[in-house]
Symmetry: C2
């Protein structure tokens, strides 16, 4: 292929994607003296990174010490393996946890990202190790990355879509075919070939919004399931690597958010109520039976699978005491109509076509478990601050899973090199971030995605 | 590629693999007037099919009616979806269950396979629907298939290894590159190209014995994990299809047998004790703690995952009453040293370096659950015939999972055509049996593999 190729331009390193992984790699590659170009199919930078909350996990940091939190890379490793059901690739997890602190410090020392003066405990982590940038948005980190990209004079070619990988006779990656002036709606643009002296880094994100691709791997995830991702989170770049013999890893491991509402698009406002109030202090019922069917405090995977199994949205219910005790402001979610407020349990039952008597019986049964501190039905851990659901107004929300993250992707080694199905590195091809697979196994812990992007972005930028 | 190819021979249909799926397809294709060649990399036919127990599942059969068993395709569908955790591709499962009865009858009417006059209930099936050939071995079915192959004059080229798929400029599959006089040990042979007028059927089996390939998908399954498969159950044919753009499905779903012993090779004699006596009537302890750690009657996946999680073989224990009540003859397993017999619980403890006092406490606790009919610790269902573990001699066995079946494979549609990642059929390429994926989802039910092989073998042979 390479022989017949007409090259339009030439660089050391071509970075595909302008999220956290791609920009980090571009910065590191440029700082180690390489000539770099970043391409981005959309009109602006940031991909899904920009809509994240920006939370990044790292062990053994100064902030943890300040707050008296004892942590270690090994503890984070153990937490990730536990969540991943042991399917994580150990060497990749090791790379993440042992470089997480320096990656976090790099965002402070080199990028000057401002963080809130707090350390948060997210679900599945054994200690608080999550740091949140000011504004509670990935946009804060992205802005600082773009500043650094600008200072270093790294060009970002927007509206440029990556189409295929060009290899030479020995199978070495020597360039990429792209479409410039790319129109996302018509999937058309002007073909150009970029020659790469050192290699290509694929940092194109996951396939959460790619219905055809994801439903091959998990047929439950058809067009009836929404996603928290932007609609451009599709698999074409991943597929371009599979085409030249790259190995895929665990493509069928796709994370669903169980905290999402079918009554709004994207991530939305429902998750605040569901994830921070409902699951701890409330209960979920199947509207067809009026009964509970799952431990509300199970992990994301257990809850989402249980809801998909009943086959229709379920109803989450909490009382005023729970909302008050949580300290969260639900006014936005209520205003948007995602969370609804009811003066009585009868009103609530009527709104969701629940049989009022059955619902009463279910609430009474659950309240009994809360009082005695043991859930005989689903073994939900009854948290200390929990109290029976008795005090009006009652809050309710419909729950239906959304695709949130794709754990699977391209097989890489700890140097971020893409591997073939024999486990050999493909010369000149690298991947980092959500397009790569194997770090998170069966299920990703919250706040570990950004850590992965920055750790492997740095590794790729240095090695490529 | 096709243009430059020197063709050595030409057929309508090339079948890769001589297990149940391949031979069935060859018979159907020949009977519908096509000229067929089967290739087999080993020196004799049968692959893993020949070492199976030959059990085949089908609903709504005459044998079921004779024994008064009510069943339906829908019930079998529901059972398969439940075991597969809903990840099965519905259209493929539908194809299996709605053609299962006719596939089973075909083995009787066309092949004259002799079956035992019984219908068995296997784990995870809601009714008895499993039929076992005489001799309780897949060899019985295979012999009849080979007779039919012979009658039809279909050549089987032994010691012929499939290497790559040859496509024309439009991406249509037009032939295959093989190695004749193939030497399995040196992986060498004489290159030849077989042109196919209608297509290639890949029926090469799973990748249970391919350590590199399987451990990319599940890194726990390295060389320390044995397999019940023959050592030639490797992924080269599957990879040849991925190379031309075939989609893979759920490659990371790999079934482990939890009933296997690390003290013997292959399937062995331990599973009879574990699967038919131990799990129902006995208990399993972790030798490091002397305590139980899992519901012994969980499904294959739950049990195997739990044992892998503790990280070392565990000890299964049952008493003489359990063995007697089961009616099974353990003499072979005992003679081989896989199942051991002890005059007292103290002797048993000493043999496995268990603390005798802790073991006594664990057995007492478990016996208490058996007496009251409720397992407070792991919610194992206490079966009616269960009795406390009290009567010497005691039987024990070490348990450590083995790779048994690979649910993942090539993406196919209900016509057995191989699909690309856009869901489009690849012209001229078919797959059936274990090399195809998506039928079983996260976990396969016992006795459904042979049904799948024969159903999709027939479909492929008719459609190709």
């Amino acid at each position: 292929m390479a022989k017949e190729t007409q090259w339009n331009e030439q660089v050391d390193v071509l970075v595909v994607g302008s999220g956290f992984a791609g920009l980090t790699a571009a910065i590191e590659a440029r700082e180690s003296g390489k000539n770099v170009v970043v391409i981005e199919k959309m009109k602006s930078a940031g991909g899904n990174s920009i809509i994240s909350d920006g939370g990044i996990a790292a062990p053994d940091t100064k902030l943890q010490k300040k707050w008296g939190i004892e942590d270690s890379a090994q503890m984070m490793y153990d937490d990730m393996l536990k969540a991943g059901l042991g399917l994580n690739h150990p060497r990749l997890v090791h790379a993440v946890v042992s470089n997480a602190r320096s990656a976090f410090e790099w965002t402070i020392d080199t990028l000057h990202v401002p963080y809130l003066d707090r350390v948060d405990l997210f679900g599945g982590h054994s200690v608080a190790r999550c740091y949140t940038p000011e504004g509670v948005t990935g946009g804060t980190i992205l802005k600082k990355m773009l500043q650094r990209i600008d200072e270093l004079g790294i060009p970002i070619l927007y509206s440029t879509s990556f189409r295929s990988i060009i290899t030479d006779a020995e199978g070495r990656v020597v360039g990429g075919a792209v479409l410039k002036e790319y129109d996302y709606k018509t999937d058309a643009g002007i073909p150009a070939n970029i020659r790469t002296r050192r290699g290509i880094l694929l940092a194109s994100g996951g396939y959460g919004a790619d219905v055809v691709f994801r439903s091959i791997q998990d047929p439950r995830l058809d067009e009836k399931i929404q996603t928290t991702n932007k609609p451009f989170a599709t698999a074409e770049v991943l597929k371009s690597a599979l085409k030249i013999g790259a190995a895929s890893v665990q493509l069928s491991h796709i994370q669903l958010g169980a905290w999402s509402s079918p009554d709004e698009h994207g991530f939305g406002h429902g998750p605040l109520f569901a994830d921070y109030i409902l699951f701890q202090y409330g209960m979920i019922v199947d509207p067809h039976t009026g009964k509970r069917f799952v431990n509300e405090l199970g992990d994301r995977k257990q809850s989402a699978d249980a809801i998909l199994r009943i086959g229709h949205p379920c109803i989450g219910i909490a009382d005023d005491k729970a909302v008050a005790c949580s300290g969260w402001d639900l006014s936005k979610a209520v205003r948007k109509g995602v969370v609804k407020k009811f003066g009585s349990m009868e009103e609530l039952a009527a709104a969701y076509a629940l049989d009022a008597e059955t619902l009463h019986a279910s609430v009474d049964r659950y309240n009994g478990f809360v009082r005695k501190g043991v859930d005989d039905d689903f073994r939900k851990p009854i948290v200390e601050e929990a109290s029976p659901i008795v005090k009006a107004p009652f809050y309710a929300m419909r729950l239906w899973p959304k695709v949130h993250f794709t754990m699977g992707g391209l097989s890489i080694n700890e140097r971020a090199q893409v591997l073939d199905f024999n486990g050999n590195a493909i010369d000149g091809l690298y991947a980092a971030g959500e397009v790569a697979g194997g770090v998170h196994g069966a299920s990703r812990l919250g706040s570990c995605a950004i850590t992965e992007c920055i750790v492997f972005g740095r590794i790729a930028g240095q090695n490529i």
